[in-house]
Amino acid sequence: MTGISWRHVALWAVFIIFMLLLPEMVSKGTLRTVIFANFLAIFAISWDVISGRTGYISFGHPFLIGIGAYTTAILSYRFGMPVGLSIPLAVCVTMVAGTLFFLPALRVKGSYFALVTLAFMELMYQLVQVIRPDLTGGTRGMSGVTTLARGAVNNYYLSFGLMIVIAVSMWVLMKTRFGTALSAIGMNEESVRGSGLSTTRLKLFAFMVSAMVAGLGGAFYVHYLGSIAPRALFDINFVFTIIVAVLIGGASTIVGPMLGAFFLTFLLEYLRPYLPGAERYFIYGSIALVIYMYQPKGLYEIVMQQWRKYRVVKAGET
């Protein structure tokens, strides 16, 4: 384990303390916004584990999130299963689905992989409406799913707790040799294989981890919202939001997607009074496009560059 210094630990601690004190400082409305930011951060981290690191771009992440969400919603709502059981089950099912998602990654990469994941998502969207609508609720979905906590403050702590546990553990995981190997796959898969590592096993593990995070996020999300509908979930705009969050923040950093998710959610929230409808996508899509064309590694990299420059200047002065 290299690359974790006291400064990192201190920064995380400051962040956690700040977030824990947040309900004391802001209104309930803002807190609800932060809850959404937390969930978006979870989805963004999940995307980042596969796509940010290894370069296997997933355009179908809602496929995984949706499976987690639907499984727990069906189990608890239709069969009255306690949430304590249905969520772990949902996560397991999502991980199994993750293997399905992984199959094409054995054969194709780059553009093709992105497209096959898109196909997965659209397939799921159509199947959910057709197969057993008595279970899935068909086009209208389900409402009245058990919620886990009441009130903004409790929900905030729940979502933040989930998010921070996932974020820190992913961050630590990516600091290990495993994370390095995944980044190496993103740079040059052949040379990783050439140096004697099983890229298949590495990729499979990455997909499992990503699916687990997506399943957790999806399951808790549906129990927060209390409802689920296919069009809101298996939507290209949803993929777009996740990817843009990661790209604005900075891919393959774990911290970046978190930052991006918060930035994006608040940007959306502050634009709401001026642009109530889909026009907001126009603004933030354009922002994302400009940032992406200027620095594909996102805000994280821009900040780090400035920081490095600043350090060099300071070192030069003394």
Binding site: S111, V116, A119, Q126
Partner: protein, 284 residues
């Protein structure tokens, strides 16, 4: 039975028209332009604006739509694809973002509600117990003409052969004195124009709405993946496979399942034979 046959043929013609522009870019530039379906949407909306809001003749609307699509394609190549210098994943992500931005732009200009296009050629045609709208018949005939023309263009003209050369080996083509950049620009222009034209027909077949681009994108993707890179004939064949699959599943099984088999086909082919069923490495 005859109903299935005729409807399948007509739908496939439309699908081939939708997919061919996408295939073209993919073969020559090796990039997947996920904003391709926005050309369709923009084409449809421009036609709607010119013909149904301004009351100009239909042919003017079509010409304006094609020209705008052409311009859009070239602009996208110059402003986005070229600066990214062949980083395929970056091109895909940025074109996807662009597609959503264009969708939002359409909502800004034309609001959210779906719009119905008047049929391009009104009327129906009865043949062998089946009823066919002249609208989709026109689309199919135009599609066949364009595919034939494109085949001839790629095979016989100087520019077309240069396109073939670039699709085989961009560096080699440059060495032989082909300006690959110019060829790419032309290809993007043609693809944009074809997309916009396909959009007019597609919109008159379904309807205009800001999220109408997802379905044709999936169709184009399916055709390219299943047909393999760069085969115009492959495009035609696979468009028929998909078109007939949809019609058969709609009439014989259930209307809701129409897209399911297309997705399964994409996933299946990519897992089993990633090069596509008619895999070719160059345009032809």
């Amino acid at each position: 039975m005859i109903q299935i046959l005729i409807q399948g043929l007509l739908l496939s013609g439309l699908y081939a028209l939708i997919a061919v522009g996408f295939t073209l870019i993919f073969s020559v530039g090796r990039v997947l332009n996920l904003a391709y379906a926005s050309y369709l949407m923009v084409g449809g909306y421009i036609y709607f604006y010119v013909v149904q809001t301004q009351g100009m003749p239909k042919i003017v609307g079509m010409v304006v739509a094609v020209l705008m699509g052409c311009l859009m394609g070239m602009l996208m190549y110059r402003a986005m694809v070229k600066p990214l210098k062949g980083d395929h994943v970056a091109v895909e992500i940025s074109t996807l973002i662009l597609a959503v931005v264009i969708q939002a732009g359409i909502v800004l200009l034309f609001n959210d509600s779906a719009k119905i296009l008047h049929p391009i050629l009104p009327g129906v045609w009865h043949v062998g117990g089946a009823t066919v709208t002249l609208n989709i018949l026109t689309a199919t005939v135009v599609s066949w003409l364009i595919l034939g023309g494109l085949y001839w263009f790629v095979r016989k003209t100087h520019t077309g052969r240069a396109m073939q050369a670039v699709s085989m080996d961009a560096k080699g083509a440059t060495v032989c004195g082909v300006d690959a950049d110019r060829i790419n620009l032309i290809t993007w222009g043609i693809s944009g124009g074809l997309g916009a034209l396909a959009g007019v027909f597609f919109a008159s077949y379904t309807q205009l709405s800001p999220n109408m681009w997802v379905t044709p994108l999936i169709i184009a993707v399916a055709v390219v993946i299943v047909g393999g890179i760069g085969s115009i004939v492959g495009t035609l064949i696979v468009a028929h496979i998909i078109g007939f699959m949809e019609i058969i599943s709609t009439t014989l099984i259930a209307a809701e399942l129409r897209g399911v088999f297309t997705m399964l086909l994409i996933i299946g082919v990519l897992i089993i034979s990633p090069k596509g069923l008619f895999g070719r490495e160059e345009l032809g």
